[in-house]
Symmetry: C2
Subunit: 498 residues, 2 copies
């Protein structure tokens, strides 16, 4: 049986992924600094062994042989994704990967050293090497996959996503936001004039914030027998589906950033915990790409946890866990003023849900020009500045640190990834609309803190489908129509102009 | 270069050991219960991959080729230990190992289920299968290694240790203890009559006990940039030399068991942290077996941390970390009454340093008879009882749960391991005597809480030698003479009859 040979092979890969994943969690949560060098060596060696085994040439024959076998439906679906995964993993020659890895590592190290001072000129040569390698990579992938170069890059993160389909939706959203943001800011200013924003009644002890976060995670459906919450410098959701490791980071002067971060990661965690367990070792059993993953975190963060009904339920819990003084004298509107604050800024990761997409669209547009060669790396600062001025009214010309040097993605060689963030936000809004159409009581559920029906819908429509469908097909299957910006736009209008 | 091929191979094995080691730590310290099944699967798969790579037949040729190369002294020493390690790993046929693993796993599971009720009769058939496999294993190992069967088993844990050398030393110690223990108990009774033992002023909050333990670990030389202390159900010292993970377990009604456990594991940890870092991927760079490892933990626990001078230094720290009330009204003698309490009992792991060796000698004697076939598994309860009555005056005939069913070692198939515990205690005492001969101020150092010179001696004499010498040769190199019971006996006399 050739399929069973693939199956055994998958279980080996799963064991190595398990180890690599847990070593990364341990490194961020537990490891003392002196353990770093040997840990890096162990992880690099294991990752190399993993890559070697995952890309072994005989697997191509096993796949072809298995395709000729008499398989059940689940095996057939598994095999399609297995072939796609194997093709994506093997389409770059080993010598090229080594050269590219060296260029990317050097550039990321230089970026870490030069970003604090915003030394773009010194950093540029390293980035030029990364962009050159990336263009080579895009061409190689495009050739094997039969895709346009930029699509071949996106394909790694969101299988099936194509610039030709995504760009018009982003254009629509951009047009909308350029007029919406000034309106929302005007609306916000009027509200603030009527009722000034209240400062938080801190400090908020870490242990109390943690208790609050755990209680909210539990209410949202996080299964603590299959996961836990810890602390790390950069919050993440890692581990494996049977043991999801989430982290957050606490500041004592305010509790909202840790809490919203925890709820965001809870969205990622619910997706992992909801994947079909019997397929965990097959590529088809994994979460479907970055955009869908981000749609699950943003579904919890933006659709659920920034809604007025959520806070009408959550306010008493704040008092319970943070203490009566924490929100003494606050009503729902005071809380929402913090949760719905809009403010254009330089930094993507600090952006609110209304301005965030413009940061992404800017990068999406520049990326495509870098891939096509229309833009050279040395032109980035001007292109960046022009768009920042146009989209958000902010100039970054004298400030590369908070401009093109703010993200690790390009310095580390990741191109085609940025769109996923805003695709996730739009997909989350589209899912919410579909859910509400089939379950009109969804908002009342949230107001009662009852997430059972909402999670049941997501489990059936998203989680249990794992990677059986491409990203756009999964969206159609779940919501009945292809990607559209209008759900996210309606969401923003309701929340910020309502 | 064949040696460099071995070197690369060793780095791969080290990476897999690193992952396995850290997964075990994570499992005990962090993992939620629901992660257990998939973790067990991942660890079993990785352990299988490790074994396959470590025992690959081509390595025999690499070793032979490397032995013919022009190597430096370190490489030559590395190669000797590499051959020894490879031989020990490959001397059992794969089919036998699979059969034995199944028998051992079944027996260990049955032991876990049947131990609470002490159901020896129900357990016996599973143990009989384990003993049969163990005798086969001993014969196979003996054949390949050219050793007597029991020696071939011990060789896995303490290379170079032979029953012919160990048994007379154990006999000497046994003779000594049979008269010493009644004397020590009489002495203790007289002291207690003059001054009754004081109950502890608990409860002792966990956070305070933890602060005390961390402060003592630091004073003893534990490097917190290369390790940490956590909590687990069964305390252990794991991880890797650059990142040593220790655990302990706290009870709030008394602080001594957690503290002494922490100090014991600190002894193991100092050994790991003191190994030569540049050899970490070679078998020769590892700690030299179980007896030497236990000598390092017992050196800290018994020679240092149960000494009067240690407590004269430590008493003020108790007050500092546990609070003034913790030892209010206690003087040094009150503390030592707890630290030096002797009491014969059924359970090895609960035994004090004076009675513990008799538990080990009993097992050592029975093990040898099981290996030779002089004793059948069904005879164990009677043999156990006879020796318990003779050595410690306690009968276990109606109580197999606290007799032969108390330890996991035999149910899990580990024979030849028990001697290491008491060898460790004797070696620790012998090392202390050698250290004091070369550094007469060692006790004053402890009284001042200064462990610099003591650790410097251990680093040179033990830690940095790693596995360059066999267990008995390492002892001679460090102390100038072969194993003798007289140092441990003198230690007990000084402490309990002084
Ligand atoms: Zn996210
Ligand atoms: Zn120990």
């Amino acid at each position: 049986m050739t399929f069973s040979r693939l199956d055994t092979h998958c279980r080996k890969l799963e064991a190595m992924e398990h180890a690599l994943s847990m070593l990364r969690v341990d490194e961020a949560v537990m490891m003392p600094a002196g353990g770093g060098d040997k840990r890096a060596e162990a992880v690099a060696t294991l990752a190399g062994m993993y890559h070697q085994q995952a890309t072994a040439p005989e697997i191509a024959d096993w796949i072809a042989d298995a395709e000729a076998e008499d398989l059940n439906a689940a095996q057939k679906t598994a095999l399609i994704e297995f072939r796609r995964d194997y093709l994506n993993k093997t389409c770059l020659p080993v010598a090229f990967v080594e050269r590219q890895t060296a260029a990317n590592m050097r550039s990321e190290q230089m970026w870490r050293a030069l970003r604090p001072a915003g030394d773009w000129a010194e950093f540029l040569p390293a980035l030029e090497a990364v962009v050159a390698a990336m263009r080579e990579e895009a061409a190689l992938r495009a050739d094997v996959l039969g895709l346009a170069p930029y699509d071949a890059l996106m394909e790694q993160y969101d299988p099936g996503n194509r610039a030709a389909a995504v760009a018009p939706v982003f254009d629509d959203l951009k047009r909308f936001l350029k007029s919406f943001i000034p309106e929302a800011l005007e609306h916000q200013a009027q509200r603030r004039a009527r009722r000034p924003m209240k400062p938080m009644n801190g400090p908020f002890p870490v242990e109390r914030q943690r208790a609050l976060g755990l209680s909210m995670m539990g209410a949202l459906g996080f299964d603590f027998t299959h996961g836990r919450l810890d602390v790390s410098h950069h919050p993440f959701c890692g581990g494996v589906p049977t043991d999801v490791r989430m982290t957050t980071r606490y500041e004592t002067r305010e509790f909202l950033s840790a809490l919203m971060g925890t709820l965001h990661e809870t969205g990622h965690a619910l997706y992992e915990q909801g994947l079909p367990t019997e397929w965990s070792h097959w590529p088809v059993g994994r979460a479907r790409g970055m955009a869908i993953h981000e749609s699950q975190s943003l579904f919890v963060e933006q659709q659920i946890a920034r809604s007025d009904v959520f806070w009408s339920w959550a306010m008493p819990h704040l008092a319970e866990h943070l203490g009566e003084d924490a929100v003494a004298g606050w009503d729902l509107e005071d809380m929402l003023a913090h949760v719905h604050h809009v403010e254009p800024g330089f930094i993507r990761v600090d952006a609110d849900e209304a301005t965030y997409p413009l940061h992404v669209i800017l990068r999406f547009e520049i990326e495509q020009e870098l891939v096509s060669g229309a833009l050279r790396p040395s032109d980035i600062p001007e292109a960046w500045n022009a768009r920042m001025v146009e989209y958000l009214g902010l100039s970054t010309l004298d400030n590369p640190r908070d401009g093109a040097m703010q993200d690790v993605h390009w310095p580390a060689g990741a191109f085609g990834y940025f769109p996923s963030y805003t695709l996730g936000a739009m997909i989350a809004a589209q899912q919410w609309a579909a859910l509400e159409a089939s379950h009109p009581g969804a908002r009342e559920d949230i107001a009662r803190g009852d997430f059972t029906a909402i999670n049941a819908w997501r489990r059936t429509q998203i989680w249990q489908r794992a990677s059986t469908l491409s990203t756009p097909d999964l969206l159609v299957a779940a919501t009945g129509e292809p990607l559209s910006a209008r759900f996210f736009e309606a969401h923003l209008r309701r929340r910020y102009l309502g």
